[in-house]
């Protein structure tokens, strides 16, 4: 299988995304700068599986490692500060490199540490989940605040993304689902044909070739949008399709009890629901619902507390002047931004929850 290369032009520098099978052990060929030291940040699950491959692939004299608990709860101010402390104690300097080895949690956390350690040092993303194809590209790094997801962070692009699809073989069914929700989202932003092709995918019998192809598609959609709008002042907001409700659900249920992608899947259906109502467009709601269901996505909103959900949606970073702003679809491939009043939002949420239950 070949190695795919996608170049992303950020405002400060260009960086390469390499996608291939088994490329984690050749990491030195991608880390060309003479770094004074390297600090690998990973979690306990990934450390067991792939840490030694990365370590043995590096030829640098000073290589340090921090192994954190797995899970969304790690993306918090406490571990952020702990990593800063370790970086100082290991003697990292401005010419050091951080390698984020893991899923989106590790990528976001280690990337945010890199963006603020000594006012910013280099870092490389080595994603090990499908979901992380989204978070590892585009330079959005962050930690969660207890009042909302990703509320503290930076725009800080990596020096490279090394994507070894072989590491995706160890993913659970739930993690595959979670990643595919974002891939579906990117297909919806892209065009009808891509979306229809994605709906043919059976997640229980996914080939490595299929996966690499879907990742390339998702990353290309993402890369072209972040190149056009790095700081999310315009079209980058489209990538939040499905995320307004998605993030609120994650926060409401406690991060981790629903995966990010599972929450986004519900959010995508909600964006269909509300788009049909507000923009009078006809979208393949039933087909998307069917595909999610067939692939075992949990499609219920386990809360009675609409007001609490709404409060959380209002904390979304896209909002302006305390009104909820949502990404909707005029058609597949045609995302658009709309402000929704509290009263309308409550009505849409109630009818949506009803619709989910009866399907």
């Amino acid at each position: 299988m070949k190695v795919d290369e996608i170049v992303v032009n950020s405002s400060s520098h260009s960086y390469r995304i390499m996608i291939g099978n088994g490329i984690r052990s050749q990491i030195s060929t991608f880390v060309t700068k003479a770094y004074s030291s390297i600090f690998i940040v990973t979690d306990e699950h990934i450390a067991d599986l792939y840490l030694s491959d990365i370590q043995s692939g590096l030829t640098h004299e000073y290589v340090y490692t921090s192994i954190l608990p797995a899970g969304e709860k790690t993306k918090c101010i406490e571990y952020y500060y702990q990593l800063q402390t370790e970086a100082i104690k290991y003697g990292l300097d401005r010419n050091s490199l951080i390698i984020a080895l893991g899923g989106g949690v590790i990528g976001d956390l280690a990337g945010f540490v890199a963006s603020t350690f000594m006012r910013g040092i280099d870092y490389i993303q080595v994603p090990t989940t499908i979901l992380a194809h989204d978070s590892s590209v585009g330079g959005k790094v962050a930690i969660n605040h207890r009042l909302g997801k990703n509320l503290i962070g930076s725009f800080y692009p990596p020096q490279a993304v090394i994507y070894d699809v072989e590491t995706l073989q160890s993913l659970s069914e739930q993690e595959i689902r979670s990643g595919y929700a974002e891939l579906i989202k990117e297909a919806l932003i892209s065009d009808e044909l891509t979306f229809r092709a994605m709906l043919k995918t059976d997640l229980t019998s996914l080939s490595a070739e299929e996966l690499q192809e879907h990742l390339r598609m998702g990353i290309k959609v993402k890369a072209s949008i972040v190149e056009a709008d790095e700081k999310e002042s315009g079209i980058r907001k489209f990538l939040n399709l499905g995320h307004t409700l998605g993030h609120a659900l994650e926060a409401e249920l406690g991060y981790g009890s629903l995966t990010h992608g599972e929450a986004v899947a519900i959010g995508l259906l909600f964006s269909f629901h509300i788009s049909e109502s507000i923009l009078s467009t006809h979208l393949p709601y039933d087909q998307l619902h069917e595909w999610f269901k067939k692939n075992n996505f949990p499609l219920i909103i386990q809360t009675e507390d609409i007001q609490s959900l709404m409060m959380k949606m209002k904390k979304d970073k896209k909002n302006v002047s305390k009104m909820i702003q949502m990404v909707l679809l005029q058609d597949i491939g045609e995302p658009t931004l709309r402000t929704v009043t509290d009263k309308d939002m409550e009505r849409h949420l109630n009818s949506f929850i009803g619709k989910l239950v009866t399907k």
Copy 2:
């Protein structure tokens, strides 16, 4: 008295520095963008003196305030997180503005919050100390780590700096001294004539005109350097003249027991001492020492623990590959960077401490 205007061109935008007498009450004329809300961050001392002037000068609907304890200890992760929490609770969004009203501690802390709240919102510096002429210009924002000063931060330029020299009338003798150490540093980086003129200043009988002139000089030196090297990869490091030992002294004695400028004054003398030794240049060590002494700078190093000081100097962000890098002077107006081995540094420190005691 006229209002001075200096424009600084950063990589992301240009911003104005306004210096004038009583301009704090006209703040609305400088805050032209239609911000959705404004969050003023200040400390308890400054709040008593100037907060109401700022509040009454703003015509915006949503203006919130956070009043923090005064002092360097506030520049820590705990208050950083508290401000994030308040910003979320007040419903700040990406179109909100933070106003940092206070000295360098407030400017650095509130600026770092602005740089990372929802991945970055606008902020304005309203410095109320002489020392803050340095920190408010150039976009370096940070908090302290318990293992070292300013180790966590960003490069994130403000939208404007509003410098009301009238607010400097309430400064203590110690705060005036602290600010003038940085002004002396800028004169040393600039040229011999400026430096000689500064040595004629008597801090006990400072006129408002003199002060405004000195601030303009210091800010111009600073602005021209940060324009040429925003991210401190080259000449911006020159601004750290006197700071390698200065920061270590502050950390060693506990932030706050020696003011930043008082520590920098000792650091400047040390840079003279070590420059004369390593570069064989002749610098007016005695005149500078005399001026500091006449103006009541505390010129002793209150520690016997050279090893601990050295450890702290090695944590400096300018260091590469675990060696101490220092800014030295080939001559006044000619700063240069040199790496100093541990052995040499220990020798220089010992002879310098001896020299300080005997003068």
